[in-house]
Amino acid sequence: MLTIGTLANIKHILQKELFNSSGERLLSVVTVTKTFKKKDKRACYLCVLTTAPPVPVVTLCLVKQYEQRDSEYKRKRSWQLDEIKWIDGRNEQFETHEFDIQLEKLYKWYALNLHERQNFLAVLNRQIQKYVRGPRAEFRNVPQAWLSEKSPEKIAAGREGRAGNVTQKPTNSDDEEDEEEAQEFTALTDKEANELGKLFSECDFAIKDAEQFIEQLSKELHDLDGANMQSVLASEQKVLKMMEHIDNAITEADKFETRLDTYEDILGHVKETMEKIGGKNAMIEIANNNNIKLMKELNKVISQLDLPHSHQQALEDPDLKTAAGRKAAIAAAQCLQQAMNSDIDPALLRLEAVQDQRKRFEKWKQKFSTTVSRFLNNLFIHLGNEIGDMPLTTTELVLPNHSNVHRELTPYTELMHWSKAMDRKTYDGLMRVYTASLSKIYDRDIRNFFNLAKLQVSDKLRNSREDLDMSTSSRKSAVSTIPYGTLGINRDQWGPGVDSADRVRFDALLEKVLAELEPIALQEQLFCINFFQMDVISPTTKNTQTTLDMEKDKGVDMSQSFNASTASPTSASTDAGGVPQKRIDRQINEEVRKLMMGLFSCLEPELVSFIQSFERVDSFYSLYVLVRLTQHVMSAQDTHSFLSMTFASALVQVKRNFDRFMQQQLQSIKEAKLPKRSKAILPYVENFENFAQTAEGIFRKSDRRTDMEKWYLQLVNAIFEGISIHSQEHPKTPSQVVRMENYHHMYSLLAQLKVPGLDALKKEAKIRYNDALKAYVTQYFGRPLEKLNQFFEGVQQKVAQGVKETEISYQMAFSKQELRKVISQYPAREVKKGLENLYKKVEKHLCEEENLLQVVWHAMQEEFIAQYNYLEERIQKCYAGAMINLEFNIQDILAFFSDIARSH
């Protein structure tokens, strides 16, 4: 059981831990457990709290102690006093531990300590009495004494007979009102207690006799005053003496100071001298260092600028013809180049000796360069002439290979590179000479090559022409100007053309030409790039300036020329530094292309003229040339190379021709005129088959398919339009028949072609064919039973006007007699004759080619039977019971049909 001490302790702890921070004060606390929770015997604390005055707010509060940490408390809930409905002590006896509080619900508590419980209830009661304005909580089963004015502690203390160590204050008031304040005690600090104790021990007597104490104190004060006065008077003499001493001391100090000054003077001189000596030493050291550096620098310059005698000799009189001499010359030249581009401080360049050496270098360089230039110049021209003298092959279609020239020149590659770096003018000159002498050869080769190729074209043409002339004989007096294959013109009016076998040969020829051109051009390009070092970017001007030239544009050019002269081709990309790779490539390409253009100047015009030679022979040439060239342009890896560009520009022309050709075809369809004695199939419909098969043969697997398909669409649309227009103009054949047969033909063609893009038009053709068939059968077929039809049309009109079908026979014009009269005009014999005539007429209209007679006749038979059925049905409806029938029945009709069938 908890004692009051522990209760106070708890109270103290809670006050400190929880409520001090919020400025609240703990009035009473009771340690409780919830009675209904048997297991959870963990104690909580019910507290009565008040805030500080002047407006104290008293609350009831439930505090819990954390299980994990014993020292920590937490406020669980709090209620205002007026929230308390009633409090039940259960039993008025003191030993009761339980009590209930009705708040928002009933709380049942078990107080661990009876005193706490009592105190708590009493304090709670008092606070309620004091602060709750409205209906106050009722206290049940609580001893009346607790609710009276008596302090519960006092009662408890009295009853237990033990002094509650509640407060330490000596003046513990019993006053009810002050009790709260009394509980708020302040402990004396240790220091204060000590001071107080000391005071008490010293002035032990004072407490007994205060007056005597005062007297003693004033007497002491008086004594002290007197002593003070005396000492003040005595000190005056001493002060005077003191003054004198001080004066003496001052004069002594002055003297000492002047002495110190002189010493300092002397020392100052010494310091100056010392500093001067130190400075001199440093200077000597610097001079020494500089001398060493200068020595090093000079050594470097001399070693860099030194050109061994053997090299000098090699430069003076190079022997470029022999391999050994070449090797020496190249080594010397490279040495010279290195020396001339040595990394020397610009300031050193001003040295007379350096400049002299530079001039000497310059002389050597000039001399060597001229020698090289002359030598290579001669070599180029010689090689050019040598090949030029060689006879050309005149039979085989081959472009000669000039790798022997390249082999001849390869040993001089390094000299060329040197000359590029060191003497741009010479280099440019050499390049010009090379281009001039080689382009002569290539010109000749290419012209010859293309002439041969063209000859082969016309050869083949001549052969086929002869065949043509033989077969068509002299019937054609004037040569027709209409190109072969023109869609809108009848076949027999076309000019001469070539057949597909020739076309295949032409295509093969073109392929051979293109295939021949490619390796030659590529080989030459590769050689040029290597020989003229064109894959290294170089500034176009002032390249010959070396690092030893210091006068002008020094800073700008130095790095560039250095790069250009020392960089090997392989490291070109890394050396070029800031310039982006793409631009370098483009520039290189540009230069290479320029050179190639010079070498192969006649290639493009010759190629174009060769391609044009096809045009004269075969109007379809643009189709396969387009496909073939596209293949070559697309398969080229280097799209910017000279050859690719040349092919591409030729391709552009061919595409233009292709489009023009198609445009002409389109135009010819629109302008087509009907031949007088033609049958139903229009010329362009007939010609389209051959055209489309040719085009498909060329384009089937090509990338260019889409180009052709675009034109297919336009052409087929134009053909459809043309059919509609021309069907009206046909002299003999009815327009329905023209449409029917032509659309039937087109449908069949398109179905065979299987061009995916034309699928919609194929369906369209079928629809148009069916429409035309229906139109022909219903309109042209007319009505072999014309008058009967007219009669019943009249009947239908009457019916529409409101006459009942059964009363039609009472109309004058439509009486049974009238009907019999009309029917009698159509005896079976007549009907049969009519049908036979119709069959003959249809047979005449239709052309053999499309074989539509059976289809049309089938439709007409059905149509006739439908008409017969209609008439019979009308008669049965309108003249029922009159026993009127047509003079022939369905069996007769079928017999007629069978007879017609048998008679053909």
Partner: protein
């Protein structure tokens, strides 16, 4: 280069007959354009022409694709009359279509008045063998009775499609050469056959 339109290649006229839906049009389209159309749309009458190489000789084939259903059989007389050879098609999955071939055969013989007219009995849809309704030997027996070849085809898989057309063309060709050899002899034959026919009716 020079093709005179008048002296064109030999022309063989083939007629497709058989009940509705057995695949006459499908066979024709497969032969003509190498395509197979799944959707069924009844034919009225369609005419096709194609150039083919028959045993090294360029010939033209005219195909008349006809309607399976017809209100009056007599309507067919005219095109039967125009035909030089017949592909009589039925579906092996449809017994009725097989029975109908008898009628077609009789009409053709009546119209052509010729027992030995080039004629092939064609069992189509052989890709659907698991749905077969007409036993193979029954077909073969009938073909034997008529003394005509029997071929099973599939317009869907193109099996035997070329074969039936080319076989028929060969028969037509050999008939034509035979005809041109002895026209007088034929006339007698025909009379004989006709008589035979009459007794049948």
């Amino acid at each position: 280069m020079s093709k005179k339109p008048t002296a064109g290649p030999a022309l063989h006229k083939v007629i497709m007959v058989g009940s509705g839906g057995v695949g006459k049009s499908a066979l024709t389209l497969q032969f003509m354009y190498d395509e197979f159309v799944e959707d069924y749309e009844p034919t009225k009458a369609d005419s096709y022409r194609k150039k083919v190489v028959l045993d090294g000789e360029e010939v033209q084939i005219d195909i008349l694709d006809t309607a399976g259903q017809e209100d009056y059989a007599a309507i067919r007389d005219n095109y039967f009359r125009s035909g030089e050879g017949f592909l009589c098609v039925f579906s092996i999955t449809d017994d009725e279509s097989f029975q109908a071939t008898q009628e077609f055969r009789e009409q053709i013989l009546r119209v052509k008045n010729d027992e030995s007219i080039p004629f092939l009995l064609v069992g189509n849809k052989c890709d659907l063998n698991d749905k077969r309704k007409v036993p193979l030997n029954e077909c073969q027996v009938r073909a034997q009775q008529w003394s005509v070849p029997y071929v099973e085809t599939s317009a869907k898989t193109r099996e035997n499609v070329d074969k039936v057309f080319f076989d028929l063309m060969r028969e037509i060709r050999s008939r034509k050469t035979e005809d041109s050899k002895a026209t007088s002899g034929r006339a007698k034959d025909r009379c004989k056959k006709r008589r035979l026919k009459c007794t049948l009716l």
